[in-house]
Amino acid sequence: MKNRTLIKDIIIRLLGFVLAMFVLSVVVFYFARLAPGDPLQSFYGDATESMTSAELHAARVRLGLDAPIYIQYIKWFGNALGGDFGLSLKYKMPAMKVVSPLIGNTLILGSTAYVLVFALATGLAIACAANEDSLFDRAVCKIGTAAYYIPAFWLGVVLVLIFSINLKVLPSSGAYDIGKSGDVLNRIRHMILPLIVMILSHLWYYAYMIRNKLLDEIRKDYVLLAKSKGLNKREIIFHHCLRNVAPTIISIMAISIPHVLSGTYIAESVFNYPGLGSLSVESAKYHDYNLLMILVLITGFLVIFSSIIAKTINEIIDPRMKDSEVSAWQR
């Protein structure tokens, strides 16, 4: 019985997931095409500037850009089901092929930043919450906010100036040195500056959120009960409070993926780090539809999927989440 509902739940969620991805694809597909501007520019580059309208029309027909959008979508959808996501207009090769070598780079950078941001944020939040209003807490709050508002791109350039140009200790660009694609240490060296930028520009946002959540939590009555049992601060925070904010942290983590990815994009363009970021910005700017679709679907997938996972984990941690209360507003 219990198992059946569990399976049912999972199936419903998966269906919801598929539906969400579908809607996302429709929305982006339409949206991208609504934008004025000529996708052929990506394809022909500057040459479009001198193409006659007949030429342009012929090119459009060839690339299937002349059909009504819904026909284009149906076609795209059919092909996508078969794993063919179409041609990147700018790179003139299958969009999948453009993306696949870069996915690794972005995922490595993004996920490292993601993990570090949340690990550090949680640590910092705990340290601050445990010593609320102490000198440490206040100092961290001030420094944190200040750091958070340093524009990422600006910080990136300053770091390059210091570490790459003046001290010459860290590389300023790229994902790895020439011929060192397999060298982990080398990759790490290249990631240090982008990571610093990403961490600094996200850390405090989340640390502060978690800190406040923790502060709310340590004001709850059960903390007193725990204290009256004779537990010490550390035990209370780690065994009680943290557990209760975990669902919040997990939800925050789930919805923060696009935020962190945005950060990755900026870091990538500052550090000329080959990845999906610059590709995305480019594809949106230059109407490289199929490439854009794939990129949005990738992030959409990550976000929607992780929010489903987060929800499931949270229900295990905190069964209250599952009960939906009936609203008196239904009438």
């Binding site: 969400a20 982006v28 004025p36 340093i150 100036l161 994009y265 008196a328």
Partner: protein
């Protein structure tokens, strides 16, 4: 007081008791309030509003005889590589940036709160659909979303940029509002308002919003900051305002170029202004947050 009278039965309210309320000194009242932030912010806003009076040069003028001059008595903050006066630009740019921040904030608040309230009071299904929709919107990285919307909107101006930033930034707020509304929608005062026949929008305005506004205050105030920051990022990516509109964002992207040219004033000054302003706004925002949570820690 004579002892003799002391033991007379006099009963209640014999003497109206006036509590001796101690006057709290003015400086103590201000304690904990972000005064410094407020003052700095006021100065900056004042400067921006009266940019024409404050600035001593035309911010759009290229003083081609004064390229890259360090701060001096004529150009207080120096000039950039095209001879523009940083001091004047700061005030004009601040005006644009702050306007963008405020307008985006208004858009974010209006959409986020309304959407969140509706989703919050709706039943299971509508709520789920509304939240999924927001989630889908949110799953596109904001920069991408802004680029997309912007390319649909065409030519940029301050209003459009604010609109775009606002339109792509309300998801988080809607989520928070929704969960706040869910917490209070079945509270007795809302229910009794309903039973007395108060309409939905009245309930939203008089009952729902005032009761969660303090908990979203921080989000709202910091949305000003993040909108300003977003505009500067867009400028950096070359997607910002038209070139002749100066904003702190566009000045920062100048700074980016100036790094290689060793003109520190072009680099430091706009960044400093931006950071100080954002920090002040945030300080004030977190003050509101703290206000709502006066309880003491149990630890």
């Amino acid at each position: 007081m004579a002892e003799i009278n002391s033991f007379k039965l006099v009963g209640t309210e014999y003497k109206t008791y006036v509590p001796c309320v101690k006057k709290i000194p003015f400086c103590k009242k201000l304690k904990g309030k972000p005064i410094i932030s407020a003052i700095i912010l006021a100065v900056i806003i004042f400067g921006c509003v009266f940019a024409e009076k404050v600035g001593n040069h035309n911010p759009t003028e290229f003083y081609l005889q004064n390229l890259n001059t360090a701060p001096n008595s004529e150009f207080y903050f120096g000039t950039d590589s095209l001879g523009r006066d940083i001091f004047s630009m700061i005030w004009y740019g601040g005006r644009v940036s702050i306007a963008i921040g405020l307008m985006s904030m208004v858009i974010i608040s209006v959409i986020g709160i309304t959407y969140g309230c509706i989703s919050g009071v709706s039943g299971e299904k509508v709520d789920a659909i509304m939240m999924r929709t927001a989630e889908i919107g949110n799953s596109i990285p904001s920069i991408l979303l802004v680029i997309l919307i912007m390319s649909v909107m065409g030519e940029e101006n301050i209003f459009k940029i604010s609109f775009v930033i606002g339109i792509s930034g309300w998801f988080a707020l809607a989520r928070i509002v929704r969960s706040e509304v869910r917490q209070i929608r079945n509270s007795d005062y809302v229910l009794s308002a309903k039973t007395m026949g108060v309409g939905f929008f009245s309930i939203m305005i008089f009952h729902l919003i005032p009761n969660f506004v303090s908990s979203i205050m921080f989000v709202i105030v910091s949305s000003i900051s993040s909108s300003i920051a977003m505009e500067s990022t867009l400028s950096f990516l070359g997607l910002g305002l038209p070139v002749d509109v100066i904003s702190w964002g566009s000045m920062l992207s100048l700074a980016n170029k100036a790094l290689l040219l060793n003109t520190w004033w072009v680099i430091i000054i706009p960044g400093l202004f931006l950071m100080v302003t954002l920090n002040c706004i945030t300080n004030i925002g977190s003050f509101f947050r703290k206000e709502t949570n006066r309880k003491h820690s149990n630890l």
